[in-house]
Amino acid sequence: MTTKPKSKLFNICAPIALIILLVIVWQIACTAFDISFHVLPKPAEVGRALLENFPRTIFPDMMASVKVMLAGYCIAIPLGFAIAAFSSQFNLAVKSIMPVLIILMLTPMATLVPIFKLFLGVDPTLKIIIVVLQCTPVIAVNSLSGFIYVPQAKKDLMRALGCRKWESFFRVTVPGAMPQIFTGLKLGCILCTIAAMSADISVGQGGLGYRIQVASSLSATDLAYAAIVIAAILGVVLYMAVSLVETRVITWK
């Protein structure tokens, strides 16, 4: 038991050390092989571009992306959950909806942007719609596969207690499906970051994806990389936040 705090610290330090090592290798490689700034700027240059541009461009772009990601994700969670909860109650619904959800999950939603633009123009809600469309299926599929697998013994227990359908759903099905629900939520936040970035690129109108595109077309590769770093950090923070909630919720594993 006494080794636990030490191993926790180790778990945090090990990946950070690897990242620092990679950055050093990147810096040395750029100098040693004389890599052009336009192909791959040195980490120091990226860092400088990040600091210089942060207040003026990167911060507002980051906030724009954060808004799209969070709004989309927060709509996708109850939506995916509701689709899964509703269809899990009917055998026919499970059989018919599961393949459709899987197809939707695998469709890259950014490809739909040009079509959506026809209906919606470049409305800012378009980006949120893209994120919702990309995240909802994966959350629904995973929750649904958790909901439809309830061990027979647990069903017997609920029946023996004379539970109504909805009562056994909330008392047994949902808690039992928590691990799968969180798998869906975590995959959802990965897809959410990707969807938000591709929405920025295709729709424009600000956002980190848009900044990356503009900066690289102006050959400001240091700024493009700086925006990529921030986008990656956003994704990681969201993922870690969801994982933290998971460890708080699933205490019995």
């Binding site: 017997d156 227990l157 023996a160 008392r171 047994v172 039992g176 205490t251 019995w252």
Partner: protein
């Protein structure tokens, strides 16, 4: 003692791919209040199906049930289900709830909201099975025997009319099983509940049961009934050397042997 439960002509079949298989073929049994009845049979003979129909988890095809003065036909109603305390084959605890919350579950489902009253009932049940100090533990933190004790506490917390046990100790090691059998005997003696237990173990059946019913292979009927005229004191004090017990055990063993092991190969 007055009769509390009677089953007449219970039949049950299951549909296989292309035929119906008759599992229970006219089961008649009668259980008196405060009695401990053990039901034995080969594996696959429909013991679990029988007890599931008796507690109302499964419907029967034909037959009538008389329970607690009412006749619910071949299926037990929801109201009546709540008069059974059920101990399942696996401990069947909800792994995300603490021991306390697991035991409290029936009270919550039955809509009992009085916190102090519930607390007293839960703690009484936990004390009865000797787990009063483990109420905050999660099921995974307990041993298999302790989990099954929790399950017994959960079955007893709502003060049921009958305690139904479906091979409750089948998954436990021999030493724990022996300890829990003694524990169950004591619980039965203190609570004076009517108990029905499915088992595949002759020693267990004779230690606990006032009567042992033996089922045939499917289509199953009850083909033997053995009375076990041992007092509680005789049962708790070295039953293994009791001549009456040894005689019954030889009798029961020969019956079980005569059934053969007819598991479909």
């Amino acid at each position: 003692m007055p009769e509390i439960y009677r089953l007449t002509g219970l039949r049950k079949s299951f549909a296989n791919k292309n035929e119906r298989i008759q599992i229970l073929n006219g089961i008649d049994l009668s259980i008196e209040e405060k009695e401990f009845v053990c039901i034995m049979g080969n594996s696959g003979c429909g013991k679990s199906t029988l007890i599931k129909i008796m507690e109302g988890i499964l419907p029967g095809d034909e037959g009538s049930i008389l329970f607690d003065g009412a006749t619910p036909g071949s299926q037990v109603s929801k109201e009546m289900q709540r008069k059974f305390g059920i101990v399942f084959q696996s401990d069947n605890l909800l792994e995300w709830l603490s021991v306390y919350k697991n035991v409290e579950l029936p009270l919550r489902v039955f809509g009992k909201k009085n916190k102090n009253e519930n607390r007293k009932k839960v703690m009484d049940a936990l004390t009865l099975v000797g787990l009063q100090d483990y109420s905050d533990c999660l099921p995974r933190e307990l041993s298999g025997g302790m989990r099954q004790r929790t399950s017994i506490a959960r079955a007893l917390v709502s003060d049921p009319a009958m305690l139904m046990l479906d091979q409750p100790f089948g998954a436990l090691d021999a030493i724990t099983r022996k300890a829990l059998n003694a524990e169950l005997l004591r619980i039965w003696h203190t609570t004076q509940k009517t108990c029905v237990m499915i088992t595949n173990n002759e020693n267990e059946a004779l230690l606990l049961g006032g009567r042992v019913l033996v089922m045939s292979n499917p289509p199953a009927k009850i083909i033997h009934e053995i009375n076990v005229p041992l007092t509680y004191e005789e049962r708790i004090s070295g039953i293994a050397l009791n001549p009456a017990y040894l005689k019954l055990r030889a009798e029961l063993a020969s019956i079980v042997r005569s059934l053969g092991n007819t598991l479909q190969s």
